[in-house]
């Protein structure tokens, strides 16, 4: 059964998330929560020569937040920090291939929020 929100690719990433796990040692790791629903994502990054050499994530959440983290980590592997910083809400939704209402948009953006905060912490 096909659903416009729960498309095959989202369910696939939810059931089999890419880069799921932890990295120890790593350059930086950071966790963010979505207090409304209890979703949590922790990102682990190894940064070398201003590029993401390796990335993993762990946590729990709905299909949207997990698929978005899975897709995002796939995307940023090997990318430069400058490129990553240009990511915005539109890119994430394009990556997921869906449009979302305001209630669920936070789920989709939790991984990006965690990534941005990680990079801020790393810079400091």
């Amino acid at each position: 059964m096909e659903d416009e929100l729960y498309r095959e690719n989202i369910l696939e990433h939810y059931k089999h998330p890419r880069n799921f796990g932890t990295l120890d040692p790593c350059t930086i790791h950071h966790k963010e929560n979505n207090p409304i629903c209890g979703d949590a994502i922790e990102l682990f990054l190894i940064i070398e020569k201003n590029k993401v050499k390796e990335v993993k994530f762990s946590g729990q959440g709905c299909a949207i937040s997990m698929a978005s983290a899975s897709l995002l980590t796939e995307k940023i592997k090997g990318m430069s920090i400058e490129e990553i910083k240009k990511f915005n809400q539109k890119d994430i939704l394009a990556m997921l291939g869906i449009s979302l209402d305001t209630l669920r948009i936070k789920c989709a953006l939790l991984s990006l929020k965690t990534l941005n905060r990680s990079l801020e912490l790393w810079k400091n």
Binding site: M1, D3, L5, Y6, L11, K15, I36, C37, G38, D39, A40, Q60, G61, C62, A63, I64, M66, R104, C107
Partner: protein
């Protein structure tokens, strides 16, 4: 004729489609719907006698004061309290904050406060933050979702000054034996505060029978408007407590150096109150009484039994809380294997079904006791039908098809 058939016509809000499906409102634990008569009562305040209470020496203000105080009388008779024992607040949360702040001044180091593991944040965070000089203990919840009464007896002692607990869990649906707990607590001279936010809308309650010292509840969970609630307290306790908020209306005399407080209950009501909301709440209580709380309780027992039976047949579905329809309200928190509660809520919403997903403002219970990240919750009220239970079951099966295939 079942109860909903008689009353659904009174709720205009029910006559609508959500996502092209007839609305099935199962989020009553968060907030109930409001019948047209309640809206009309508030409307007539704004259209006919809009003015302040207890102040103006003019006809409109007199009418407003009469209607506002009449609403209070309705609450008093609804819970069988006495004249000065009912205070208007913003809601259950404010009622409990009022108690936590005023009691924090009376409690000393070494005093203990006994709560339960099934409390809503509103009956946990105020005590945790305001009474830091006291020891807070939590009565355990059994794996079946009931209060562990042995643990209660173990933790209740002479140092216990306050026992504060919910009448009905907003997650598990468990109805606690508050009368028995009050009897035990009084033996060690502890005061009992009851969070009635979930229980009062669904059960006939008599504070003289319960014998609790305080009872807090909210209008918006029992067909009334938002922004209005009640704190009931035994007169002798309310007299001995300091005011919580200061300002107009709560004083009898003010000098530059000091002030004297107004009589009960106005001592606790500073500033211009929620006049329309109080009047609306009064009308909601009248409406509930016209249905009869006993009838509501009986009908909800029936629908609880039906829903428990139907929901438990869904493969992979786990209900949190008692599986026996006795001493349990019609609130069902559940998880389905392999589907996050948020995704469930979204899929149900597309079928026109409103439920809640998350930690239900009872995060310690959900994450530390039940050990799940979040749950999906369907909570019923007197206007919900058996057909709506069937629709819920069907939509949950659809969610399973989406996630797991046929």
């Amino acid at each position: 004729m079942k109860l909903p058939e008689k009353i659904r016509k009174d709720f205009s809000v029910l006559r609508q489609k959500v996502n092209n499906k007839p609305l099935i409102y199962l989020d009553n634990g968060a907030s109930s719907l409001t019948p047209d008569c309640v809206i009309a009562a508030m409307d007539s305040y704004y259209k006919e006698y809009r003015s302040n209470v207890h102040r103006g020496l003019h006809s409109l203000s007199e009418k407003a004061t009469i209607e506002y105080e009449k609403a209070r009388q309705k609450v008093i008779s609804f819970i069988n309290a006495e004249e000065p024992e009912v205070i208007w607040t913003k809601g259950t949360t404010e009622s409990i904050n009022l108690l936590a702040y005023t009691f924090s001044k009376k409690l000393v180091k070494g005093d203990e406060i006994l709560l339960t593991e099934m409390e809503h944040h509103s009956n946990l965070v105020p005590w945790q933050q305001v009474c830091k000089h006291c020891k807070i203990q939590y009565i355990k919840v059994t794996p079946e979702g009931y209060l562990d009464l042995n643990d209660f007896k173990k933790k209740l002692n002479k140092k216990t000054k306050i026992v504060s607990l919910t009448l009905m869990s907003n997650v598990l649906g468990t109805i606690n034996d508050v009368k028995m707990i009050t009897e035990e607590a009084h033996k060690v001279n502890a005061l009992v505060i009851v969070d009635g936010a979930q229980g009062i809308p669904h059960l006939p309650i008599d504070v003289k029978v319960l014998d609790c010292d305080f009872l807090a509840f909210s209008g918006h969970k029992m067909l009334g408007p938002t922004g209005i609630g009640v704190l009931y307290g035994k007169k002798k306790h309310l007299q001995s407590l300091d005011p919580f908020l200061y300002g107009g209306d709560m004083i009898s005399e003010v000098q530059f150096s000091h002030s004297f407080w107004n009589d009960l209950p106005w001592k606790f009501e500073a500033g211009t109150p929620q006049i329309a909301e109080a009047i609306g709440f009064g009308r909601a209580i009248e409406y509930l009484q016209s249905i009869g709380m006993k009838n509501i309780q009986e009908y909800e027992e029936e629908i609880t039994k039906y829903a428990l039976e139907k929901l438990q047949k869904i493969k992979g579905l786990k209900i949190q809380g008692p599986k026996d329809s006795k001493n349990r309200g019609s609130v069902f928190s559940f998880t389905i294997e392999g589907i996050h509660p948020h995704d469930l809520a979204t899929i149900l919403d597309r079928e026109g079904i409103a439920v809640r997903a998350g930690n239900m403002c009872a995060m310690p219970l959900v994450t530390e006791v039940l050990k799940v990240g979040s749950v999906c919750r369907a909570s019923f009220y007197c206007y919900n039908t058996f057909e709506e239970v069937d629709a819920l079951v069907k939509a949950l099966q659809k969610a399973q098809e989406i996630f797991h295939g046929r």
